[in-house]
Symmetry: C2
Subunit: 427 residues, 2 copies
């Protein structure tokens, strides 16, 4: 094995420049770990002329991806360009050229993970993607290696930093959704089109990756029941707080009797729950194993250096495999056939707010709708809303998604307005 | 490679029987992961006659360790007998017989880790010990693999479940140290001789392992500055709470300018700090990396199945290595020479309680003692103690261990009594 391992970097934005910096600054530790010098030899950029804010530390810039793919001295490709089709094409060509690939591209992995992993294995190549989920937290390793001997029952976490920042500000500073979104955009935490974050799509892609690894089933994006935070109001947060809850955008993936359910939704957790204390842009993932019980992994969910650290740790793994001659032997993406839970099997507690006429018999009618569906109450709070109407806040005991849908229809038919409906987790 | 991997288990107590159970119950998942059936073939026990509470799932009992060491069909030894000298002897003999070893024995690793790792490498054997620190939390993997590319600056955590349970009860239920110790002993959380837990020795051994891995320096038990929780009083907890802190027994290991300091001590953390929310027998370890920032690993610190899960995950790793032909290639225990920090370089905030005469000039004299050592105050609280005396509670700004020692001497010489002195972390 060579004593210098050359890396080709595709993409030189925030994360890419972080990778160059960490490989440079931590060269001594990496040499201790791997016995090699790991250097970035070439960097593929879109525009040579664009002024670079970051030092190159000896790497050569090119606009031509073939310069990297056809360079036989380069063994490892780090893909941090983002996007899907082009990135996928490059990665497949890298495998054809018997190179190993490390990527931070969650969209690509969520969409084409299985195909890419098979192509890697077919070419004796490694493919690692720790940075694609929860930035600096080594959660994929935790799932695959650390809990290898356990049966994962549930994975639940805060996997999107932008929305967690927004919900933290809304909760702690009483800001409205619109104001906090503007602030997040101004600070660069949110994109000008915030949809991927606030509509839960980014979190859903991460849950695809986590649930596929956790349950060894090829879950796809369409299998995830996704709800974002656009409709979360201050009033929701305040009433939830009165009943002892904090709102978080939470992804859950659960297996029961061989079938899985994966969702992303604004969810209430008790204030004493460890996820309630995960603030601002931090991420945290809970893993429930049959034997181990509950474990949690916490850390920065994004950011230049945390994400680059995860990328470089994957590079270190690949380099170790190269030295050991064990590349291309990662376990396959999913060894079990996918089975999804029915709505009638997906159980949870729910928090709901109903507006109804403030008149004799209204509350009885409301109660009957729940009794009909065999749903019992854990907590109830009734408040006057205005002269004619009352607001009722209910936390149910555990009930199926199907039951709660039927209650919604029943209330609707009686002109009661379901203002908000959220899952409650962690009790 | 064979399709059945036989394990020899040395020790059949709580953890050992958990290992048998998990290997049995999760056989299908482990086969998916490794391509092999992993079975416990023989179990070494002290007493054949003793009635066994646990099923053997086909394993054969023996009182003779040679039955396992000389059985060529057994490739992996799991040592969960505890103790030091005998366990060390068995493990070394296992390496001589070219077997791989997984152990949960923190005392042994903290004392003889380097020697054992060298013996493993010399024989082409694997030695893994994830379960030795923080039971079910895959923290050693997190340090070694997940953060491989980062420079670890600090490791800080709650690594002893018994004392965390005790401090939680003292804090939340106002129980005295003596009462909570009795309860913990009654519930089986604490030994009849509780010294290893309450004097911080168990935590110190875990910090030896964490700091040796984190900094790649061979830290030894004697290098750890250890203080237990015997002297923690309700009054300490109440005054700390008034100033916004919670008491935890915390191990810290920090590197600064190439030198490390490792300690275990009752320590105050702000109520909003994530470690403050780690309750009862749970453990949590914070890792600060130069690039990644702060990450935390949380989970059960002990218990039959969590610990057994960590052991079996190590067995899975070893079996994968056997199939790949890469055993005996784990990186060495410590590649840098050990350098320890001087007391004058170890900085921290401190919380201290002083009793002094309640008379004009006393507070001025107290203040002068701190000014002399160039220590400034972050928070001060003075309360009358009795007719003649006052209690002053001080939280300092960051100051060196040497400075605080000199203040203690100065107060002592002026007949002021330093009632309590604790580090403050996490601000």
């Amino acid at each position: 094995v060579k004593e210098v391992i050359a890396v080709g970097l595709v993409g030189f934005g925030t994360v890419g420049s972080g990778v160059v910096r960490i490989l440079h600054e931590h060269r001594e530790k990496i040499r201790r770990e791997t016995g090699c010098d790991v250097i970035v030899k070439k960097i593929v950029v879109r525009d040579m002329e664009k002024e670079r804010a970051y030092p190159l530390h000896g790497a050569e810039l090119t606009t031509c991806v073939e310069d990297v793919l056809e360079d036989e001295s380069i063994n490892v490709i780090v893909e941090v360009m983002g996007g899907i089709q082009e990135a996928k094409d490059y990665i497949l060509r890298a495998f054809d050229a018997k190179k190993h690939v490390v990527t931070a591209n969650k969209d690509l992995l969520a969409m084409h993970g299985e195909e890419l992993l098979k192509a890697a294995a077919a070419n004796g190549s490694d493919l690692y993607y720790e940075a694609s989920v929860a930035g600096g937290i080594p959660i994929l390793r935790g799932l695959v290696d650390g809990l290898a001997s356990d049966r994962i029952q549930k994975v639940m976490g805060i996997v999107n930093g932008t929305t967690n920042y927004m919900l933290t500000k809304m909760t702690e500073e009483g800001m409205s959704y619109e104001d906090v979104l503007q602030e997040a955009q101004r600070l660069g935490f949110a994109e000008s089109d915030p949809s991927a974050d606030v509509d839960g799509l980014d979190a859903a892609r991460k849950m695809v990756i986590l649930s596929t690894l956790g349950f060894s089933m090829q879950v796809s994006f369409d299998d995830v029941d996704v709800q974002g935070i656009r409709s979360v109001t201050q009033k929701d947060l305040q009433l939830a707080s009165q009943l002892g809850y904090v709102m978080k955008l939470i992804g859950t993936a659960e297996e029961k009797d061989g079938a899985v359910a994966v969702s992303v939704a604004p969810t209430l957790v008790p204030k004493s729950h460890p996820l309630a204390g995960v603030r601002n842009e931090y991420n945290a993932v809970y893993v429930y194993g049959e034997a181990v019980g509950q474990t949690m992994f916490y850390g920065p969910g994004a950011g230049q250096l945390p994400t680059a650290t995860a990328v470089v740790s994957d590079v270190v793994t690949v380099v170790k495999h190269m030295r050991l001659g064990t590349t291309g032997k990662a376990m396959s993406f999913a060894s079990r056939s996918k089975v999804l839970q029915e709505d009638s099997d997906i159980y949870s507690k729910y928090f709901l707010r109903v507006h109804m006429k403030d008149e004799t018999g209204a509350f009885l009618a409301l109660t009957k709708s729940f009794v009909q569906e065999n749903i019992s109450f854990d907590k109830i709070l009734q408040l006057p809303l205005d002269d004619a109407k009352a607001e009722v806040v209910i936390v149910t005991h555990s009930t199926s998604k199907k039951q709660i849908q039927q209650v919604c229809e029943s209330l609707d038919s009686q002109y009661m307005e379901m203002v908000s409906l959220y899952r409650v987790e962690g009790e």
